[in-house]
């Protein structure tokens, strides 16, 4: 048959909307830049330079991408299972809290300690998501609202902890003690910040791919996410799948926070996350809910982030522009698709805001 042709067609159908929406987003943000008084061409050039201009900047791209990889994959899993996890931000913070707390207190050799604290971060994030999952399962509370509420609670929790119980011993700044040297994720190169966490994230992406497309559980999650009625009739435990997906998603987001503390900041403080939990949504959608696509999308946004500072320096454009690009990407995706991918009609689980 036209096997190659049909393959190409499928790839085009997958990539097309993403590329098109990227284009639209770039054009739209170019307009915004112009309106804000800047030069779009210079801004984007500075962006590219800042991201890819040197080995150091490439390493920075990796550093900025890492949390997006974890959270992006987290969203891929959740959305594939039909669960709207908007709580990545909060789950991430819980993971960071766990890492900052245990990492500065635990006296263990790295081969034992690191896996332990990373696991703790994942569990913290998963536990935070479990709150929403239980509310959904037992009390039919929409996960959209509950995860968002938990985000804000987590924010305040961080604020409380860094000003209080977990404040550094020196008592000077509202931040936690530093993670002990043994429990810091090692760098990959001596002179750059790129760290092991990046590789772990790639590994997680690969595992997610296996989970979703090669395991029974992944199959069940996807079926239940696309058509819970048919899934249930087939004997698939749809509610349990949704629960697991939400908790797993939270765990990965928690891992994002934990890795970031362990490898980059070594401490937790307020304003820790520049909105990774929300960018993750754009990453997942741009990556068409495929782990591989999410990796590419995460790299895109990571590059955007890495380049934004030089864009600000060179072209005077605020780095907050990145938010606009993200938003435009999502809008463009959704418009280009005509809503077919994320349609609310047909058997898709409607977000029940109850």
């Amino acid at each position: 048959m036209g096997n190659l042709a049909s393959r190409l067609r499928r790839v085009a159908r997958l990539l097309g909307p993403s590329l098109l929406s990227l284009l639209v987003a770039l054009v739209a943000s170019g307009i915004v830049v112009a309106l804000a008084g800047g030069n779009p061409a210079r801004a984007f050039l500075a962006l590219m330079q800042g991201a890819f201009g040197s080995a150091d900047s490439l390493s920075e791209v990796g550093v900025k991408t890492c949390p997006l990889l974890f959270t992006g994959i987290a969203m891929v899993i959740a959305f594939r299972a039909g669960v709207w996890n908007i709580g990545g931000e909060g789950q991430l913070l819980l993971g960071a809290i766990a890492m900052a707390w245990l990492g500065s207190r635990l006296a263990l050799p790295d081969w034992l300690g690191l896996p332990l604290v990373l696991a703790a971060a994942a569990m913290a994030g998963g536990g935070w998501a479990a709150l929403a999952a239980v509310l959904k399962r037992q009390r039919a509370v929409s996960e959209v609202i509950s995860t968002i509420m938990l985000n804000f609670v987590a924010l305040q929790l961080v604020s409380y902890l860094v000003h209080g119980p977990l404040m550094e011993a020196a008592g000077q700044y509202p931040q936690t003690d530093a993670v002990s040297a043994a429990l810091r994720l090692p760098r990959l190169f001596a002179t750059h910040r790129l760290h092991l966490g990046f590789l772990i994230a790639l590994g997680v992406a690969a595992l997610a791919q296996v989970l979703l497309f090669r395991t029974v559980l992944g199959y069940q999650m996807r079926a239940a996410g696309l058509n819970p009625v048919a899934a249930r009739l087939a004997g698939i435990p749809a509610e349990r799948c949704a629960f697991l997906a939400l908790v797993l998603s939270g765990a990965l987001a928690g891992l994002a926070g934990g890795v970031e503390v362990s490898a980059v900041t070594y401490r937790l403080y307020e304003q820790f996350s520049p909105g990774w939990g929300f960018t993750a949504i754009a990453v997942a959608l741009l990556g068409r809910l495929n782990p591989g696509g999410a990796v590419v999308a995460a790299l895109f946004f990571g590059a955007l982030d890495a380049g934004s500072f030089s864009m600000q320096r060179a072209a005077g454009i605020s780095s907050v522009l990145v938010s606009i690009i993200q938003a435009t990407v999502i809008f463009a995706l959704v418009a280009v698709e005509g809503g077919a991918w994320l349609a609310t009609t047909r058997a898709r689980p409607e977000p029940s805001v109850l």
């Binding site: 049909s6 996807r222 079926a223 058509n227 048919a230 899934a231 249930r232 009739l233 004997g235």
Partner: protein
């Protein structure tokens, strides 16, 4: 020729020019001709019944007249002038109102609120429920309808009242033609009598009533003329006074040979695989959907359950699919008493289902053909290797099924949505049979399928029975029941009639289904 010349309708006594005429109406859904050239005339001041089985084209005809269905050919004339309806609002303006089987009501709103838009004056912005109520009351009195408490919320109303509400809505405005789609399907005998009295009053006012039904007796009771449809054509139109039940039943079911699966070899029946005793299901509205149902299906046997939709079939199916726990009664499957009711338990116990709505219940349209072919917990368990689902095993399994059941698809990796209805159903059937079930429960397995696909599904089911499975066939399609079953019972208001062995008398069956000889009570 669409019509037999002998069947050209004799105009009723007081007919002037036809109020509504249709000429050569055609409508195809894919390869199926839902309307294959229909010519009819309707006159003012008559009650006209359109009689036929499911799939005969009655609803499509009426929906076309009401502007809900596009036509592929033909013309509609009102008062002799051709009209084109872009939608129901156009039909309403031409004086045609329709009440569907599925009501378009707002559950949480009151009766008055449901009528408010239809009965409020044109430029009004205020909601004057008192005025609406007055207008509704006047209209209701004129026609002889009892709407009951106008401040009651629709969700509290019994079906009969809801239907009267729909009828009132349809009659608001200058409606000259009222179309009713299977109105008595959901009514008790008392409500049916009330409805008929109202229709007679309408006729006395000079209105025309078009009445879709498959119940012969009622058609003869209330209609002036009866048109029988079959396979998208008009078979004949007769005056009710001159018609006989037997002739009409034959016209409905047809003396053509039933599309045959190969004649099933009479096998010695094995042990009862399914034994249902005194099964009762009380639904959320405290209605006894299934009432003390007892049934036995043996190995190798096909038991057909006939009946009009809405008499408990869906609840029975839900129980056997594990989606619903019975309120009372017991079910033995392959000798074991069932105590747990979940789809997984039923599948593990050896049951397999073919649900009535393949797209919503049987398939995940966005997933590939291969993925859909394994959408079953027993299959998943069989194909799994630890926690993994090896691609190779799944694909070869799926590939074998595609070949065996001749599922026409562009490969295993295309979304199931790309398949035609017939092939989608083949997929569902293939999957259901591939678990080697002891009991197969099929609900309208050939709905919307063409002749070839229907035959394929029937053949597959027959073969499964030859291998020892028991098949419980729930269907609203008489042809299917007749062609396939060894024994047939009729479900009416949740109660099951005693079963009839084949050879099966067609008209007796039709009568039971229509509630003529109500042995089943109710």
């Amino acid at each position: 020729m669409p019509n037999d010349p002998a069947a050209i309708p004799a105009p009723p006594p007081n007919a002037g020019q036809a109020l509504l005429s249709v000429r050569g109406l055609r409508r195809n859904f894919g390869a199926v001709a839902a309307l294959a050239g229909v010519d009819l005339d309707f006159y003012p001041g008559e009650i006209h019944a359109i009689l036929g089985e499911n799939g005969a084209g009655k609803s499509t005809l009426m929906n076309a007249i009401y502007g809900l269905v596009r036509l592929d050919g033909g013309a509609i004339l009102v008062d002799g002038r051709p009209v084109h309806f872009g939608g129901p609002l156009d039909a309403r303006q031409a004086g045609i109102g329709m009440v569907h089987q599925e009501f378009a009501l707002f559950e949480v709103l009151t009766v008055s609120e449901n009528l408010a838009l239809a009965l409020s004056p044109a430029r009004e912005w205020r909601l004057r429920l008192d005025r609406v109520a007055a207008a509704a009351g006047a209209l209701a009195a004129e026609i002889g309808l009892d709407l009951g408490d106008l401040d009651a919320r629709v969700e509290t109303l019994p079906v009969g009242t809801r239907q009267r509400l729909e009828i009132l809505k349809a009659l608001s405005g200058q409606t000259r033609i009222l179309i009713l789609d299977e109105p008595t399907a959901v009514l008790t005998p008392v409500e049916t009598a009330q409805l008929f009295r109202m229709l007679v009053r309408l006729r006395a006012r000079g209105g025309t009533v078009l009445f879709i039904t498959h119940k012969l007796r009622e058609a003869l009771e209330v209609a002036d003329r009866v048109t029988v449809m079959r396979h998208g054509r008009v078979v004949r139109t007769v005056r009710a006074a001159e018609a006989s039940e037997r002739a009409l039943a034959e016209a409905m079911v047809g003396t053509e040979p039933v599309p045959a699966a190969a004649p099933r070899p009479r096998q010695p029946r094995g042990a009862p695989l399914l034994r249902i005793e005194e099964l009762s299901v009380v639904d959320e509205r405290a209605i006894r959907a299934v009432d003390a149902l007892s049934l036995e299906v043996r190995s190798g046997e096909i038991v057909g359950i006939a009946g009009v939709d809405g008499n408990g079939q869906w609840e029975l199916f839900q129980v056997l699919a594990g989606l619903r726990r019975p309120t009372a009664g017991s079910i033995h499957l392959a000798g074991t008493l069932l105590t747990r009711f979940s789809p997984e338990d039923m599948i593990q116990a050896g049951a397999s289902t073919i649900p009535p709505d393949r797209q919503r219940q049987g398939l995940v349209l966005e997933m590939t053909v291969a993925e859909n072919l394994i959408l079953n917990c027993a299959l998943l368990a069989r194909l799994a290797s630890g926690p993994f689902l090896p691609r190779a095993a799944s694909r070869s399994f799926a590939g074998a099924l595609v070949q065996r059941y001749v599922i026409r698809t562009d490969g295993l990796d295309v979304p199931a949505a790309t398949l035609s209805g017939g092939n989608q159903q083949r997929l569902v059937v293939a999957r259901a049979l591939s678990t080697d079930p002891q009991l197969l429960v099929a609900f309208n397995p050939t709905r919307g399928l063409d002749f070839a696909a229907t035959g394929a599904v029937h053949r597959a089911c027959s073969q499964a029975c030859e291998r020892g499975a028991a098949l419980l066939l729930i269907s609203t399609d008489l042809d299917e029941i007749l062609g396939l079953s060894d024994r047939v019972a009729v479900l009416y208001r949740g109660k099951l009639s005693p079963s009839l062995e084949s050879p099966l008398p067609a008209e007796r069956l039709g009568a039971l289904m229509a509630g003529v000889h109500e042995d089943a009570g109710g």
